[in-house]
Symmetry: C2
Subunit: 245 residues, 2 copies
């Protein structure tokens, strides 16, 4: 068996999420089925971070063990051919050591969340950004974001369905960058809780609207209570950007 | 009658082009029908540059004369509400002088053409960029583009359906800019011939692939013959960016 690592770009709009689901299409299923058509093997795909329905991937990392004798380049080309018309593309493929694991070897994850801050409806980017019509104060959002940096109990920003053993996580980066009517929130950590980025962004949007003060972010964090969450941002604007090994 | 000027963003994928067509949906028809629902008037919409099927607009300018007493802001909001779910958004609306004309007052047009230069298939951007799998040399493309700047007979780069009186146009800008696997070609002129930008970009891509030398651009131009055209780029990557008044 050879372990192949993949770098995957996907548009999350048509999928129920990364992970296989009984009730709808998933990125994992699309790639596993393409692998089976190429290799006649039932390989299991492991990824760096399972994404929710509607969340996108720019460079998700994943791996699978394959017995068939095939070069990484030919496997990548065959996967891209078989994945059509699904909006999933294998950007890179390489052979890795047998003990390399897309999820367990990963020591850092980066996400970006894109907000389009304008009144006019979306055209090109329906499902690809979160449109917020009220003017957002990105300076206040950045000030609020700073309270979350560091090692904290993120219970407030954690979905009820989160399976992580502990709600304590170290947040390394939460930058808010405005360019014209676009606001990008960049988040980096060793790992995140379920819905953590969307919950942080939702509350930051409340700060941007003036409904919350920047210090309300600290109060929400200290509450350690999901009931203190102001708003969970929609999946549309969320992209898995990078996995660090 | 009051003359309203509009700034319009549209995703060209579902449309047969800007101009009304008997055989399919158009941006003009979508906006004119929304206007009629709001005003009960049959206003005619004039635009700065009619775009082909599949071509996009970031800030197309257009105007219409309306009798109804309505503020520009309310008209814009009502249009955006009535345009749904079409991927057309009115970004700005203002009252202009009766002799201001979206087409005839326009003294400069800017387009950008987006190429995604990679082997992997498109995911987010199907229909929104031209995917070119062969490696493109953007330096050579920029060198070839320079031959087209200035006042020339652009017959080679003109569609057989072009209705312009003369094939002589002054090209003010044709810049080729690479950022990672993306190449943007920026084109500016007082006006363009039908298919001119796509035809110039198609030939530049041949230069990028090494099929043409940069100087072959000059030879194609000098030929003044549509038969000397190497390649017409698809509409997918073309965006109307700006009209100057």
């Amino acid at each position: 068996m050879t372990r192949f690592a993949f770098t995957v770009e996907f548009d999350g709009r048509p999928f129920m999420g990364w992970q296989r689901q009984a009730h709808g299409p998933s990125v994992q299923q699309a790639i596993e089925e393409a692998l089976e058509r190429i290799t006649s093997e039932r390989a299991v795909l492991h990824c760096a971070g399972r994404t929710d329905a509607g969340v996108h991937g720019l460079a998700m990392r994943a791996h699978a063990d394959i017995a068939k004798d095939i070069t990484p380049f030919r496997l990548m080309e065959a996967l891209n051919a078989h994945l059509k018309p699904d909006p999933v593309a294998i950007l890179a493929c390489e052979v890795v050591a047998d003990d390399w694991h897309a999820r367990f070897s990963c020591v850092g994850r980066a996400y970006v969340y894109h907000i389009l801050n304008r009144r006019a409806p979306l055209t090109f980017e329906k499902g690809l950004v979160w449109q917020v019509p009220q003017p957002l104060d990105a300076i206040a959002m950045a000030e609020g974001a700073a309270y979350l940096i560091g090692r904290h109990d993120f219970t407030t920003f954690r979905s009820a369905h989160c399976q992580a053993e502990s709600p304590v996580k170290s947040l390394d980066r939460l930058d808010v960058v405005r360019e014209g009517d676009r606001i990008a929130v960049h988040a980096e950590a060793r790992s995140f809780l379920h819905h953590q980025v969307r919950s942080m962004v939702g509350c930051l949007a409340l700060v941007g609207m003036g409904s919350w003060t920047p210090a309300d972010m600290a109060a929400a964090l200290t509450a350690k209570d999901r009931g203190a969450l102001g708003l969970n941002a929609p999946p549309d604007g969320l992209y898995f950007v990078k996995a660090k090994y």
